[in-house]
Amino acid sequence: MTTHSQTEPIAEIPKKTISIKVFGVGSAGVSLMEPLARTGLAGATFVAVNTSAESLAASSAGDKVAFETKPLLGLGTGADPDQGRALAEEHLDQLKSLCQGAEAVFIITGLGGGAGTGISPVLARVAKEAGALVLGFVVMPFECEGARRQRFAELGLDELRETADGVVCLPNQKILKLIDETTTARDAFKLANELLGDSVRALWRLLTHAGLIEIHFSDVCALIRDRHAESAFAVAEAIGPARSREVTEKLLAHPLLDGGPVLDEAEAVLVSLAGGPDLTMVEVNRVMEQINKRCERARVIMGAAIDDSLTDRLIVTVIATRKDTQAEERAARLAAGDRLGSHLLGLATPHPGSRFVPPPPTLNPEQVERLAAGQGKSRGRKNLSKMRQGQLPLEIVSKGRFDKSEPTIHKGEDLDVPTYIRRGISLN
């Protein structure tokens, strides 16, 4: 199948020139982008956006944008997405000029904090208006970072999905599967950086490298758009003559794919193969056969790219996405109940006309009750969003007789605190 007459002209196809801008937003985003910026991606320029100048100073990105925060004297947003959003709206023109001329915009961020969660949806909107295709690469917080962060992150993710063409989301919690007892915290975060970096690089490769089989950018967007819960990525690499077999084995045993079941449940799977000029069609076929067998239900989009530097190597990237019914429910609630609620409370949405949907500013007591009764999962404390300073609880809950004992922490909740307080149920 692969004679020289066939491979040579393909290898000589000039590289596609797409101008890509990669934004790292927030402290997490900047540090996630750092390894990419250092090695560089051909055709891509890097922009670091953050609210604290300190993390920007360490970044090796080409452009650096610092939003100065007056309320906190330049010390960031205090993990408050509202502030991040307000800042981004203030500097709308600056963002606009940054997005000018880019055909594709990648937004790399960690959700759950102030800057990343607040700024990235605004940035995505601006980039979209400037005519670029927007892809988000986001990291969700660890469960142990607390229910509050987790919820902000989920709301931020929903918002970003509304505005961006596609979002690839890596829950940090999944990293825990890859590490053992001895892995240090720093290594764990490094691992998260690497994984996200891999996926950015894989998509970049897809977009910019000449392919045996091309994937269109719109395909990628279609795959990761919609309301997909989370994407699982896995990257495997093998060298040598048995590379196609080896790479499939590695891939199917990959912990982030849970060894296979993720593929079984996947709705859509994107497979990107990258090899040197010596990549044969038989090898492509062998890999795809195995993957297709695993995900019969899914819509599979595949692409193969040639990179001269990858001679004798084969890199396969799989991005599998799954529908999330919970997210759909959440979105429905967001659209119907909560927005209505905010109008009732007299809080106008900042941009009523746009597709941009703000997070629910306040849950009124009756909604809180309904959510708690219906799901048992709502962890909202009363008056949560009225607090500008998120970390300081207005009501200090004494734990009574458990004050001095070891706290019982379950999924980031302290079970020693009375249940009705954690669920925000008011007693009359």
């Binding site: 007789r401 458990f402 019982t408 009375p418 009705y420 149920i425």
Partner: protein, 408 residues
């Protein structure tokens, strides 16, 4: 009065009470409960020892009471342990059958069990139980004894319960400080399930939830084996604490309100009702909204069941529970708790009854004593096992002896 070897004592050092149960194992293997001693526990928080001298004193009281009642001298006990640090998981061991005819021998079985019990745990953790589940022969599941079968590969699952060594040692040291021996330590949830479940219920699949003062333990049986265990460091103490906080009353008062007016469900009839609490002189000092009281309790208890439900869902153990759930421990005395549990767990829930043991009616009927009675039952199994083992070795000795006699 009794042969000391047939006396088995279960000691449970709980958060709200210390309780010792004396059982007498007769020669024909029947277990009879002959004594019971209990004392209020003052040095335990969330199932773990917080004040060792206090705990020692409480244990002494309970043991002395049990000794007097049963008229025996207690020398050793089976000690129940619990606490949020305990974890349960399933582990599998594999062993290839190497013999030429592929027949599985007793040695193969011993080897595979040994393999299953080698678990990679941090050094400070101690394995309390490694309970054998089913064998698999060449992937065929559900085999209880593979000896004599043909196969190339034997596998076995064990359910392992482990905890922090130092915290377990604390409880053992408290008992040893009273010149008592500890025969074995047993996970409280396991003990309760032994006391409550019949073989049929274990076979059908049951969930036992022991709602104690400081902790809630749960055990899942399916197909006659232990499938899953877990501990939540949340119990009746938390209910009282929530009430004290929410109703703004002292803890002791909250405890009393819980016992007198508590319920696991909020019914419409209590809406707007108030309870007047009075001081020692009978003067009314405060009115308390009964609905709030019930609501606080209900939410806490509901959460306990929800957490258990989530954990079982994760362990994929929910579908096996055809016999339903059984409640025991002091928390199961809360009115309507079975109804609440039914709503959350979506399965029939009833209060557990101690089965297949005869003896003191007063002890057997109380749900609080399920764990301690289960400890005695656990002890009786161990004793029987030991007895049968010694008889086998005796048998071997005599046969070998006869051989020698013949050759000589």
């Amino acid at each position: 009065m009794f042969d000391p070897s047939s006396i088995i004592v279960g000691l449970e050092v709980g958060t709200s009470k210390v309780c010792a149960v004396v059982g007498d194992l007769s020669l024909d293997g029947a277990l009879n409960i002959v004594g019971l001693g209990q004392a209020r526990s003052r040095g335990v928080r969330k199932g773990e020892i917080a004040d060792a001298p206090m705990v020692e004193e409480d244990i002494r009281h309970a043991i002395v009471e049990a000794e007097q009642m049963a008229d025996v001298e207690i020398r050793s006990v089976y000690l129940g342990v619990t606490g949020g640090h305990l974890r349960g998981f399933n582990n599998r061991g594999v062993h290839p059958v190497v013999s030429a005819d592929r027949e599985i021998t007793e040695e193969d079985v011993q080897d595979v069990i040994k393999n299953a019990k080698t678990i990679n745990l941090p050094a400070q953790n101690h394995v309390i139980h490694a309970i054998r589940q089913h064998f698999l022969v060449d992937g065929q599941d559900g085999i209880t004894n593979p000896v004599g079968m043909l196969g190339a590969r034997v596998e076995v699952d064990v359910h392992v319960v482990h905890g922090h060594l130092n915290r377990l040692q604390n409880a053992i040291r408290a008992v040893k400080g009273l010149q008592l021996e500890v025969d074995d330590i047993v996970f409280n949830g396991l003990a309760s399930s032994l006391a409550l479940l019949t073989n049929e219920q274990k076979e059908l699949g049951s969930l036992v939830i022991d709602i104690g003062g400081g902790t809630t333990e749960y055990v899942v049986y399916a197909n006659g084996i232990i499938k899953h265990t877990g501990v939540l460091a949340v119990g009746g103490d938390h209910v009282s604490n929530d009430l004290a906080y929410g109703l703004k009353v002292p803890l002791s008062r909250a405890e009393r309100l819980k016992l007198e007016h508590g319920s696991a469900l909020v019914d419409d009839a209590v809406k707007g009702q108030t309870i007047t609490i009075s001081n020692d002189l009978g003067m009314p000092i405060k009115a308390i909204n009964l609905e709030n009281l019930r609501r606080i309790m209900s939410l806490r208890l509901e959460e306990i069941f929800q957490l258990i439900c989530q954990d079982l869902e994760q362990a994929q153990a929910l579908d096996y529970l055809r016999a339903g759930a059984f409640l025991c421990g002091g928390g199961s005395r809360i009115p309507e708790i079975a109804k609440l549990a039914e709503q959350v767990l979506q399965m029939p829930v009833s209060l557990g009854k101690t089965n297949s043991i005869s003896g003191l009616k007063s002890a057997l009927d109380q749900p609080e004593f399920a764990a301690a009675i289960g400890l005695v039952k656990f002890g009786s199994f161990q004793q029987r096992k030991r007895a049968s083992r010694t008889s086998i070795t005796d048998g071997i000795k005599s046969t070998i002896g006869q051989l020698f006699k013949k050759t000589a």
